[in-house]
């Protein structure tokens, strides 16, 4: 469990840094140029690290299914939705809703065993846990007026 938690914290911290950096690019270059750059660099980094750890095996794609080729489009959906949300609602409300929705769908995914995930039975304890986390997000994002500037607005 500790290792899983540690990886989650690494991922969350890097997402936070990435959001700040990306939004600096976004201010100048616009959202599609930023997305293209971010995904391009992510691809190059994954390719390089993959080659270091796995060598030629990186290109061994025997169990590849057709839909895997299209899953990258989900990322394009993420950007489009959040950019539109930001435009219509502003960052504070958008991010509050995005995070709540992320958690809600996580709970749904675990409960259904979505896409072959290990199914985690849905219990009232889980529902209460998620509701408490969501209330935390809302207090954090909507409590106090100092979230309008700075990095906090860029979290996604």
């Amino acid at each position: 469990m500790i290792l899983g938690l540690l990886f989650s914290i690494i991922a969350g911290s890097l997402v936070s840094l990435q959001n700040i950096f990306n939004s600096k690019v976004n201010e100048r270059a616009g959202s599609w140029a930023t997305t293209t750059l971010v995904l391009g660099l992510g691809f190059l980094a994954s390719l390089s690290i993959g080659l270091i750890f796995e060598g030629k095996q990186l290109f061994d794609l025997q169990n590849m299914k057709t839909w895997y080729w299209f899953s990258g489009l989900i990322g394009v959906g993420v950007v489009t939705s959040i950019v539109q949300g930001m435009r219509l609602l502003g960052p504070t409300y958008t991010i509050s809703i995005v995070m709540t929705s992320q958690l809600g769908f996580a709970l749904l995914g675990d409960s259904l065993g979505l896409l072959g995930l290990t199914q985690v039975p849905f219990t009232s304890k889980q529902l209460i846990g998620v509701l408490v986390i969501v209330s935390g997000i809302l207090v954090f994002k909507l409590g106090g007026a100092n979230v309008k500037h700075g990095a906090a607005k860029m979290i996604s």
Partner: protein, 141 residues
Amino acid sequence: MKGILFAFLGGAFITLQGVANTRISQDIGTWQAATITQLTGFIMALVILIFVRDRKWKRFKQVKPLYLAGGAFAAIVIFSNVTAIQRIGVTFTVSAMLIAQLVLTYIIDSNGWFGTIKQKIKLPQFIGIGLMIAGVVILRF
């Protein structure tokens, strides 16, 4: 209303992305999954960029190189995200990620790092993080 729908979809897509990456990793490996999904995403974004004829990309030059390199983090984000989901499930992973994200962002904000406007951390933010951690504890124990 439309804005709420977009934000809601955005969150759904982020979670779906993690779950899909985990599924694909099972079959072809995590680095393979990260490489392929970002390559196809990149191609799609490039096509859209050309289609919308946004000439602003030329302003990349005005951005500090460090900030331009942020995209490279995604390799480690995807690897960590997939590994965490495999070990502790989606709900726990997303919860811990969100807490780490909010905490680090506020540390950065309160110090004014990376050119952010320095600001004081107020009580609601402390209470919010406290509630989120309490929620994770309820979720797990």
